[in-house]
């Protein structure tokens, strides 16, 4: 895969002595949607801020499309758009004014037609002459997105894009993200909402305590770490699990009406057919059965717990 952002040995210790990032290595593929998942204070924003130039890394290097973020900062920064976590906007600017300002700041030629379309896509066009202080929180979030996209970036960072955002905007945002991806824009979003990563990301990176614990394709991550649970409802309740089933990881619920078999999909020792066969042999009468898969959230909680 062709990588667009290459992070090598990146670390950041703040003046206060707080070590926010401990040697992060990461390759971000061109055109992918990568979700950086982690609890508050894990280092997600520090990582993004380092790449965008808002803070200076303590050590390590980052290249964007082959250009170094420090020696070639003009090239790298003009390729990047950033939607910050906080609603930071000049209260007295108009929507149109601030979006045009952003485009100019990033050195792009004036293109009113593009900006008009952008505002329309974000349902902001009818507010274009409003002052920002008159807008609702959701609208301000849209303005931040418009500003980030004003110079047609190749890479878009969304830092906690859906914090405090209503359902409608969330849907709109994913629509835009998809549209951008189809145009070949690489999108990196941070979140501590697992559903978000699960919904739109192709790869997921998990950050905790300044360390990148893993980066994997979402599906593979779910498969490799995901546990499945086979739930079997019994026709007649039993008091305990039959002895021939004791060697398997099988549990009985309190009422004695349901048994569950938990297994890891990738685990070679797990043999669903064998277990099913033994269950039939044990004389239990089956009423119904279903399989449940653990969510990214369960995986995440397990990973972060191990880390702590």
């Amino acid at each position: 895969m062709d990588s667009i952002i290459s992070i090598k040995g990146l670390s950041k210790t703040y003046n206060s002595g707080f070590e926010a990032l401990k040697t992060v290595d990461l390759e971000i593929n061109r055109g992918e949607i990568l979700a950086l998942l982690g609890p508050n204070g894990a280092g997600k924003t520090t990582l993004i801020s380092s790449i965008c130039g808002i803070i200076s890394p303590s050590s390590g290097s980052v290249t964007v499309d082959g250009f170094d973020i420090i020696s070639d900062f003009r090239k790298t920064r003009s390729m990047i758009g950033l939607v910050p976590q906080e609603l930071t906007l000049g209260a007295f600017d108009t929507v149109w004014g601030t979006v045009r300002f952003s485009r100019g700041l990033f050195g792009a030629k004036r293109d009113d037609a593009y900006l008009e379309q952008l505002l329309k896509d974000l349902s902001l066009f009818d507010k274009k002459d409003s002052e920002i202080r008159a807008l609702s929180g959701g609208m301000k979030r849209r303005v931040l997105i418009a500003k980030a996209l004003s110079h047609e970036p190749k890479v878009l960072f969304l830092d906690e894009p859906t914090a405090g955002v209503d359902v409608e905007l969330r849907k709109d945002m994913w629509k835009i993200v998809n549209k951008l991806r189809n145009q070949g824009v690489t999108i990196i979003l941070t979140t501590h909402y697992i559903e978000e990563a699960e919904e739109i990301a192709e790869r997921v990176g998990v950050i905790s305590n300044g360390e990148l614990l893993l980066v994997e394709k979402k599906d593979e991550l779910m498969e490799s770490l995901g546990k499945k649970q086979l739930l079997i409802d019994l026709k007649e309740s039993v008091k305990k699990i039959p002895s021939i089933l004791e060697k398997y990881n099988i549990e009985l619920n309190e009422e004695g009406t349901q048994i569950s078999y938990t297994y890891v999909v990738k685990d070679e020792t797990a043999d669903v057919s064998e277990v099913l066969h033994e269950i039939t042999n044990s004389g239990l009468l089956l009423k119904d059965l279903k399989v449940e898969q653990s969510s990214l959230e369960d995986i995440f909680v397990d990973l972060v717990k191990e880390e702590l």
Binding site: C52, I55, R77, L89, L105, G107
Partner: protein
Amino acid sequence: MNLTAIKVIYFNEMLRFWKTLFQSVASPVISTALYFVVFGSAIGSRIENIEGVSYGLFIVPGLTMLSVLTQSISNASFGIFFPKFTGTIYELLSAPVSFYETLIGYVGAAATKSLILATIILATANLFVDLNIAHPFWMLGFLVLTCIAFSLFGFIIGLWADNFEKLQIIPLLIITPLVFLGGSFYSISMLPDLWQKVTLFNPVLYLVSGFRWSFFEVSDVSVGISLFMVFLFLAICIAIIAWMFRTGYKLKQ
């Protein structure tokens, strides 16, 4: 060089000035008019001419400098402090813009505002007294350099300040006293010997003196020294800013 960025920063700042045009213009005009009524007409009529210049006329350069200095500092410091305060600075830091381009945008706009203000004050003064400028070119030169130098100084204060109190403290506690004691409203020859010597340590004296010379060809210190001091002040500000740029001082961790 990201010229587009300089342009948008400059015009964005000027837009802020434009939006608050009334208060930006009204307050210096009113205070100038008040000074003229109080010092020029009421008290000034009892004060004899200073080095052949009527008192009302004599205070015009000092009054202009008072406004230029305080306005340059407050405009430039507020211009860069505000994005830091609201957090919108993130955009500036993540943009393909160098520190110097940012500086040119903000300081250029602040200096322009001060220049516009000085013009308005001089025009207002002309309503009260008959203003004749002996060396218009020098006058403009002193004015432009002072606007730039003190806008740079304001920019430094804006970067340094991390709260509103710090933002106000230097203009209030240092600049205003220096302007008042720097011979804005009197010639230092009117002071006792000792105080004349003390006043020579006040940098504002040189600015006012040189500026006044360009109007009436009278000055407390020689024009050459005045000019030198203006450039020295410029150089010091630029050096401090260069250091801030290198270290990312208070802008970036």
